[in-house]
Symmetry: C2
Subunit: 338 residues, 2 copies
């Protein structure tokens, strides 16, 4: 590999001058500048980012630790994060935690060892002492989608409260009364929040959420299947199942099919997190869509703000209900949306 020394030799200047040209430092003569540029070109020289990082103590790299890359919601989020980071001159290293706390910690440690400039995390679990330490140590950090109570860093997320209220209104208008939810892990903030918002929305219609109608899932398809099977085995099964994420909705759909029931005639289904495939399932699934692009961009901007010495605020964006046909044929309440 050609180094800055080779360029200096070729151009007949010192390495300092080469470095100055490369970093567009003002005090370089036009003559020296052209000679250096010519040498760079001739040798096909590219600065060694590793050496540069060691010296400057910055890598222009962001770490993104995500709970599950196979979840289309997170894949999309990751894509937007990379896009915005690139626009701001940063690279992104993604770590997939696979919803496993120890894998999450592994990635955080590896990223820190590589001296990334900042960390974007969607925590898999509510209790990671490592994460708290890292935040306390002053590593630039931002939570996205999920967060950890007690860890004082900005949070970028979507608020589903209103959308969930809209969903319940929609279900109520369709005459559905017995509504069940497949919750996320209790340890995640999004897990709890969605249950609470759901319960609250039901209360507005004087409906209750019995324990039997709260299934404990883990944001993976399999758990959605298991929970739904239990719902269906109830003496009085729910009329609609609301899954707290798209993967569990998929599992629920499986279980419903396996039981020989039809959606929406026999049972309704709705999901948190909208994804392109929901348009193509049979029937298309009613879902709550998060503004993924905005979320990813805002998260990166907040993180880069910290890295560059500014102090960003937390950001909360609204999610919105997308009505399709999985809870019943849209009727009057659909029209009232117009």
């Amino acid at each position: 590999m050609t180094s800055i020394k080779d360029v200096a030799a070729q151009a007949g200047v010192s390495v300092a001058t080469v470095s100055r040209v490369l970093n567009s430092h003002p005090s370089v003569s036009p003559d020296a500048r052209t000679r250096v540029l010519a040498a760079v070109d001739a040798l096909g020289y590219r600065p060694n980012a590793v050496a540069r990082s060691l010296r400057t103590d910055q890598t222009r790299t962001l770490g993104l630790v995500i709970s599950d890359v196979l979840n289309p919601y997170f894949t999309e989020l990751a894509r937007f994060v990379e896009e915005e980071a690139r626009a701001l001159g940063y690279s992104v290293i993604i770590g997939n935690a696979d919803e496993r706390p120890e894998l999450q910690d592994h990635h955080v440690r590896t990223l820190l060892d590589r001296r990334i400039d900042g960390l974007l995390v969607s925590p898999a679990d509510g209790d990671s002492p490592l994460m708290a330490d890292v935040a306390r140590a002053g590593t630039p950090m931002v939570f996205v989608d999920r967060w950890m109570p007690g860890v004082d860093v900005p949070v970028v997320r979507a608020d589903g409260r209103l959308a969930i209220r809209d969903l319940v209104a929609h279900l109520h208008a369709l005459g559905r009364r017995r509504l069940a939810i497949i919750a996320g892990p209790a340890a995640t903030t999004t897990g709890n929040e969605r249950v609470e918002a759901f319960r609250e929305a039901l209360r507005a219609y004087e409906l209750t959420l019995p324990d039997a109608y709260i299934g404990q899932g883990d944001f993976q398809a399999d758990s959605g299947r298991r929970v739904t099977e239990r719902f269906l085995a109830l003496p009085e099964p729910p009329e609609v199942v609301f899954a707290a994420d798209n993967l569990m909705a998929l599992g629920a759909l499986d279980a419903i099919r396996a039981a020989g029931l039809r959606v929406p005639q026999d049972i309704g289904l709705a999901a948190f997190d909208d994804i392109p495939w929901f348009v193509h399932t049979a029937p298309p699934i009613t879902a709550i869509a998060q503004p993924t692009g905005e979320l990813g961009r805002a998260a990166v901007r907040a993180l880069v703000d910290i890295v560059e010495g500014r102090s960003p605020q937390s950001v909360t964006l609204p999610a919105r209900l997308v009505v399709r046909r999985s809870c019943g044929e849209p009727t009057s309440d659909k029209r009232s949306n117009l």
Copy 2:
């Protein structure tokens, strides 16, 4: 940040000794070892990977440049790649090319600047001088899924030839004769190959593939939609549309629905690349499944082989047909599979 010097001071030894302990070099006294380990623990010291990389000229990092992360096939591939790499002690940096050659080159350059130890690429386009240069320069490199003719590096991929023949047999048995294909970009190897394999398989049944039945797609959903619309507008539209990847199949499904046609009664649909969602579409889609896990693992192993001085072979694994209901109700030929 605490450095090796701090540890040395705390333990009362030289930095050389600390380094030896950390790299489990044999000649260190047990006494020194314990003191160093104690100091490491007390200070919470973690070696600076950047400095280490500069000195040793290896980063224990692999670069993965992928044509489109939002394509579930590649997402899955990326996941397995990371998994295997981690098992082998490497990290992975993913670059998403979004099917854009210039973005692909950008990522390759960035990764090289970071001095990754090896490069795993699924090229977006058939003609990248940069890629050829990089390979010629001796950078450890492996192609996965797609490759570039003329660039001499190992290729890890699935061969769909047999599976495509099985698909055509299946369609033929169902009485389908007018078969069309939505091809991938001509510049990608997988793009061409699948068309050729399809044409060849048709020949075995004395069927032809007229030009009007070959649509030019770009592996994205939109192109699948456009091509299918054109197919449907033909005086004699095809009886089955075979999409060369899952995203284009999705677009095709859209177009078919929009035209008010039913699958499989009015027209059949099949896809290359099987994904979990195909089970849940209406109807479930017949697809050709690649052994993604094996592909990802084999690619990493081949790359690490090169990095560590061995000389791996190219790997070709068979894809296989997964019959569902999108081409017609399975009849006798289904049973013959048992």
